[in-house]
Amino acid sequence: MGNNMFNDKVIEHFMNPHNAGEMENPDAEGTIGSPVCGDIMQIFLKIEDNIIKDVKFKTFGCGSAIASSSVATDMIKGKTIEEALKVTNKQVIEELGGLPSQKVHCSVLSEQAIKTAIYNYAKEHNLEFEGLKGFDPNYDPHDHHDE
């Protein structure tokens, strides 16, 4: 699909997303977005000894939202919580080999979903993480019109 608006890697992750689906008894869950803005992403985490042992996602959104969810979840699997909190939307875009500018917000959604899940986990277990400082779980990536 050389003339597609997305590159082959985005299409591949969209067609065959990694880590998609349900998780039974997750240790953490986070949802971001709303049907009103068009995109919603839900992340489930299995956490053992501060390490993300498994991750699943569910996304209602366009192709690039699904592809971003796929690579972002790949990027945090097996990582420590602090490492996962360092994943940025720019790294997600790099991993995807680029996204059209009007789709950059989709990568922000996956970064925020990961942080939301960890934020909920930290609250439940009374933990503090350096990478969550200043994080607002009610942040709406659609408020940002630039990248």
Partner: protein, 388 residues
């Protein structure tokens, strides 16, 4: 890879007969119709033949057909022209909430210039209410512009009934018939239509050419000023090849109108039935019967429209959605909003439009692909709860 084009409402391929009619006028009979020598006269004759062909498709007189660059120009000319010409009589215009942007944005422009516009509501099928319409008429109403058939959901308005009311009240009636042309039997006299916008590329003609029908009794100021073309009504050297293509396409459309309507309606109903049988939680948007023969607009709950379009595109299938997810907040189609579709469903709606070259095998392939899409992406949708 198999390629299936299901976006005939966006544009149609040019039919071979149409192209063949056009070709000689690019290289051999290239004369300017305004020239007095033979080459010019040949062009003129072909142009006038095309005007008659277009007039015949809508039951008009050929002197009432003015060629334009397309539907958008025709809409602009008709609506701005009537508004500015009748300023002394009033400043009120009636239209609907489900017009094409060519009309809506023209009305917004007029609102910025002192006109008042009533945008009629539509029911859940996309039809206006005739009582609402009559009640909206004021002493100052100078123009009614109502889309003949909607481009997104295909709903056909009660045009004849509207025309009876406007004629009785002495108000000018314009309709954007870009989608209806060649898909609905149109007679401007029987339907009391004063102005009607048309476009060639929706009826297997070329792009960049359209026409405005102007009833002889309607005074419409010129929109393009310049030379004496189009009976001094629309200046600029005529798009001769485009006009000839439009004429041929109109002739073919008239010849095969009933056959075309039947064939395309059958395909449409076959597709709707097939999708409804094989996929759960799908709804048809628009009117069950009073809709364009080729229009299918459906909501595939829990899967975002762009996801569906992208997966279809990867599989060689072209369709469209009335919405797009961009960096700013989501804009759902104004038409789907007007018929009261909840936002999350509007986001999951797709328009398929079938046409003369569509086959049942094409539709079977699309339905199979849609089954895969709904299975695959519903399973990863945070909203979806499997029934049973």
């Amino acid at each position: 890879m198999r390629e299936v084009y299901l976006d005939y409402s966006a544009t149609t391929p040019v039919k071979k007969e149409v192209l063949d009619a056009m070709l000689p006028y690019f290289t051999q009979e290239f004369g300017n119709p305004s020239s007095l020598y033979r080459k010019g006269r040949e062009s003129r004759a072909a142009l006038e033949k095309a005007r008659k062909q277009v007039a015949d498709l809508i039951g008009a007189n050929d002197r009432e057909i003015f060629f334009t660059s397309g539907g958008t120009e025709s809409d602009n000319w008709a609506v701005k022209g009537v508004a500015f010409a009748n300023k002394s009589k009033g400043n009120h215009i009636i239209t609907t909430k489900i017009e094409h942007h060519a009309l809506l944005h023209t009305c917004e422009y007029l609102e910025e210039n002192g006109f008042e516009v009533t945008y009629l509501d539509v029911d859940k099928y996309g039809k206006i209410d005739l009582n609402d319409f009559e009640n909206a008429i004021r002493d100052t109403t100078i123009l009614v512009s109502i889309i003949f058939a909607n481009n997104e959901i295909g709903t056909i308005q009660p045009i004849k009934e509207i025309g009876e009311i406007t004629r009785k009240r002495g108000i000018i009636f314009h309709t954007d018939a870009v989608q209806a042309l060649g898909n609905v039997d149109i007679n401007v006299n029987e339907m009391n239509i004063d102005l009607l916008s048309m476009s060639a590329h929706k009826i297997y003609g070329p792009k960049g050419i359209g026409a405005l029908y102007v009833n002889r009794k309607v005074k419409l100021p010129n929109f393009m000023h310049g030379g004496a073309q189009e009976y001094k009504r629309r200046a600029g050297t005529e798009n001769v090849t485009g006009i000839i293509g439009f004429g041929k396409a109109a002739e073919l459309a008239k010849e095969s109108l009933h056959e075309h309507i039947k064939k395309v309606t059958d395909l449409r109903n076959y597709f709707i039935q097939s999708v409804m049988e094989k996929i759960d939680e799908v709804t048809l948007n628009g009117h069950p019967t009073d809709r364009l023969p080729g229009n299918i607009n459906m909501t595939f709950a829990y899967v975002e429209g762009e996801t569906i379009l992208l997966y279809l595109d990867v599989h060689g299938i072209s369709a469209s959605s009335g919405s797009a997810c961009s960096s700013s907040s989501f804009q759902a189609s104004h038409v789907l909003q007007a018929i009261g579709i909840p936002l999350e469903n509007a986001l999951s709606s797709i328009r398929f439009t079938v046409g003369d070259f569509t086959t049942k095998e094409d539709l079977d392939y699309v339905v199979e692909t849609l089954m895969v899409i709904t299975d695959k992406y519903r399973s990863i949708s945070p909203f979806y709860k499997k029934k049973g």
